[in-house]
């Protein structure tokens, strides 16, 4: 069996001397014992299973077929208990601080008066929602569900790339990838104590129930989806099914006497908590985009009166705006009086003239991103771009530099991936999911996305990325 090691960056399975890392010994030994023919057979099994279960996503702007299979690589990504402990602490700290920040931004705005974050950045941030200033969500929790994207840098340190505080998706793949791998490669699990990920729907339900308006016994929870054509519809239906709650679209809900009701076959039923998977702009045509037909007129009004909980709270996108990201270490220090546990990527902010100049001059070496973009749209990967592409992007950048940030290209970690009967290194990131209920809990697992193409740095599913099962190992009994 052929195993190619990463020549650039950190290899998750092999150390600098080419020796198998301790955590991967048993796994690689097991894989070595499987003949090529058998691996092919299992891979085929896996593909059929993905199609049958309809584990798909949608790529926007593609003519052919609306849905696609999310490519799955069977070599699991392993994180040791010790490594995870550190990540978990870092994420809990981050989510705690970001919620205090949001409470402040939609309250007294002390951090702006104290110059922790420049006020003009907030006031120009598209996610900053003026009508919601003065509205406090239940328990001051704005982000019930966060997905934070991590990379491992050249020496393997987990580094925060970005937070997703609005509608992070991908958790259904975390659960389904585990199901799939344990069916297709049951022998992998024999020698490992892998922490389970299937309690996620239960944990999510607890967090949502905890967020219900005061005094609601047995709160009714519903998931609000934009509908069948949304790229994450599979996940919306998956979570609704697993939690045993209703999956609704905007037209199923109505606001009456400042309360939200869903139309059911047995008449109207009051809804207490809405896990909404619709962006702020579309949730309520009275307050936001008036052309939206996805949302529910009056929903934000009912929320402001405290009659319904929206998870995540509208306006929470301020916390994951790329323009705010460079300030998160300061935000952590300001609210918690602690140093940030998980490091961040060095970032230049287009809003500052000197830094914009730096970005202009070094575009070929930088990753330049739109502060209000997501999913790999509207960005330039300098080192991978042609001269023409860079020149074209520079024009767009110069028109409004304050809407961009730039970061060095991180030589992030690679992981053995099964490609054409061999194991080759491919770049991976990690999106853990953090739930904020009575306490903050991090699901012991996460979505490992993998850039399936050789040398590629783009792991986004919308641009040809795949995924892996992610194992968080249980503490070894000493």
């Amino acid at each position: 069996m052929e195993w190619t090691h990463a020549r650039l960056g950190f290899d998750e399975a092999f150390d600098a001397d080419g020796q198998v890392r301790h955590a991967y010994r048993d796994l690689i030994a097991t894989l070595e014992k499987l003949p090529t023919e058998e691996l092919r057979r299992r891979e085929q099994l896996q593909r059929v299973s993905l199609i049958n279960q309809g584990i798909t996503f949608t790529v926007y702007g593609q003519e052919e077929g609306v849905e696609r299979i999310f490519p799955f690589d069977f070599v699991p990504r392993i994180v040791t208990a010790q490594e995870w402990q550190h990540v978990e602490r870092g994420l809990i700290q981050r989510v705690t601080a970001l919620n205090l920040f949001l409470t402040d931004i939609y309250g007294d705005q002390k951090c702006l008066r104290d110059n922790v974050v420049p006020y003009d950045l907030i006031f120009r941030c598209g996610e900053y929602c003026r009508p919601l200033v003065g509205t406090r969500p239940r328990h001051d929790i704005f982000t019930h569900i966060v997905g934070t994207d991590l990379l491992r840098d050249e020496v393997g340190n987990f580094t925060v790339l970005e937070d997703n505080c609005r509608c992070p998706s991908g958790v259904s793949y975390v659960v389904e990838n585990r199901n799939l791998l344990s069916r297709v490669f049951p022998e992998f699990f024999e020698d490992h104590a892998v922490r389970p990920v299937d309690p996620y729907p239960q944990l999510l339900r607890e967090a949502l129930t905890h967020a219900a308006p005061r005094g609601r016994q047995d709160p009714v929870v519903a998931i609000l989806t934009p509908g069948l054509h949304n790229s994450a519809y599979f996940e919306h239906s998956f979570l609704a099914r697993e939690m045993g709650v209703a999956l609704v679209e905007g037209r199923d809900l109505i606001v009456e006497d400042d309360q939200v009701f869903m139309r059911t076959t047995r008449g109207k039923q009051r809804v207490d908590v809405i896990y909404r998977r619709i962006d702020d702009d579309f949730i309520d045509p009275v307050v936001f985009d008036r052309k939206s037909v996805l949302g529910v007129p009056g929903l934000v009004h009912a929320y402001q009166l405290g009659n319904v909980t929206l998870a995540n709270a509208p306006g929470a996108g301020v916390a994951d705006n790329k323009a705010i990201y460079p300030y998160v270490p300061d935000i952590v220090r300001y609210y918690l009086d602690e140093d940030i546990i998980l490091p961040q990527v060095k970032t230049w902010v287009g809003n500052r003239p000197q830094e914009a100049d730096y970005i202009r001059q070094n575009m070929a070496n930088l990753v330049v991103k739109l502060t209000d973009g997501a999913g790999g749209y509207g960005m330039l990967v300098g080192p991978a771009a042609t001269k023409q592409e860079i020149a074209h992007f520079a024009e767009i950048f110069n028109a409004r530099p304050e809407h961009y940030i730039a970061q060095p290209l991180i030589e992030f970690s690679q992981h053995p991936t099964h490609i054409n009967d061999a194991f080759e290194p491919r770049r991976v990131d990690l999106r853990p999911f953090i739930l904020y209920g009575d306490t903050i809990k991090v699901l012991p697992g996460g979505l490992t996305r993998v850039a399936m193409e050789e040398g590629s740095y783009v792991v986004n599913s919308s641009q040809g990325g795949g995924s892996k099962d992610t194992w968080i190992l249980a503490e070894q009994p000493s």
Partner: protein, 332 residues
């Protein structure tokens, strides 16, 4: 000056609508330069009305009607006392320089600067463009040395260049539309004045309110819009670009915003395949009352609603399943 203001709005639909949700900004503010003595809101069909303040301290009334209806009526009566303002003010603040207002990397040195920032940006229908900047230089605004001369120059420039004319622009028109048409209404004059001042780095805000006109025979009273600009030495000062005057005691302020989009008198959504017609009129008169009483109340007008679509109105064999998506209408 004690002003009585009556604002009547009537929304009619040519078909029954299933649902209406509306946000109103129609209650005059109580503040240094004016006192709201009485406010009465009557609404039909009867439904729950809630009242809150928005982020600018404007009063918002909200209601939903979730049974079938064909007509919504609102009668708003206010008694406002506008305290006279000095007629002539010397506004000799030096104009803000580029550097002083450069927001990039700026430190929030004062709470004031932070509070003013929203009113320095070109947002919504106030659109930055080549044409807008061309107008700014044509009006010679860069040549002014004090805030006072800037306002005078701006007022005269706009007054001579643009014509007041109804039905040229609409509620959604932008500064671009207004420049192109060369004519419009108070909302357009306010937006263009905001645009010019913001290009000159002067913080300014949109004011929605009522204007009492004495010569009712020739021009009836109306909902009106004007602006306020910020003078570092004197605070907010009102200016009416439509008439090129500083507002007097005939101007009653209802709401402040960055532009019209923040403070339309009515904003809402209705569901149903219907065409909406809005009839609105305003009557104002000096009040004869000696002692105003302080009161705020709501009452209801007896207009009908139906739990189900009345038999006679049911469409024959129409597919109603696809109706929802197609039938949500913006209301204005």
């Amino acid at each position: 000056m004690l002003l009585e203001i009556e604002h009547h709005m009537c929304f009619t639909y040519d078909q029954f609508v299933r649902e209406s949700h509306m946000e109103l900004r129609i209650e005059p503010r109580s503040q240094t330069e004016q006192t709201l003595h009485e406010f009465h809101l009557a609404l039909g069909p009867p439904t729950r009305i809630t009242r809150h303040e928005d982020w600018m301290g404007n009063t918002v009334h909200w209601f939903s009607i979730t049974d079938y209806h064909k007509r919504i009526e609102l009668l708003i009566q206010s008694v406002v006392e506008v305290h006279p303002l000095p007629n002539v003010r010397v506004i000799d603040d030096p104009l803000p320089t580029e550097q002083a207002n450069d927001s990039s990397g700026q430190k929030a040195s004062t709470t004031d600067q932070m509070a003013l920032y929203d009113f320095t940006l070109l947002t919504g229908p106030v659109i930055d463009s080549e044409k807008l900047r061309a107008l700014h230089s044509e009006l010679n605004l860069s040549g002014c040395d004090t805030l006072g001369t800037l306002i005078t120059t701006l007022g005269e420039g706009l007054y001579s260049r643009f014509t007041y004319e109804q039905n040229v622009t609409n509620y959604a028109s932008t500064t671009e539309d207004f420049i192109k048409a060369g004519a419009g209404v108070c909302q357009d004059f306010a937006h263009i004045a905001l645009a010019m001042l913001r290009l000159s780095k002067v913080p300014c805000r949109y004011v929605s309110g009522y204007l009492h006109v004495e010569d009712q025979a020739n021009s009836p009273s109306q909902s009106h819009a004007w602006i306020e600009f910020y003078s570092p030495s004197q605070g907010w000062i009102a200016f009416d670009p439509t008439h090129n005057v500083h507002p007097n005691e005939f101007y009653a302020t209802v709401a402040y915003g960055r532009n019209y989009n923040d403070v339309p008198p009515n904003k809402g959504i209705y569901q149903g395949n219907a065409k909406e017609t809005l009839e609105a009129h305003v009557v104002t008169r000096p009040s004869a009352r000696q002692e105003p009483i302080r009161i705020r109340e709501e009452s209801y007008l007896d207009l009908p609603v139906y739990q189900e679509l009345p038999e006679s109105e049911r469409p024959m064999g129409r597919n109603t399943a696809g109706e929802a998506a197609a039938s949500q209408q913006q209301q204005q």
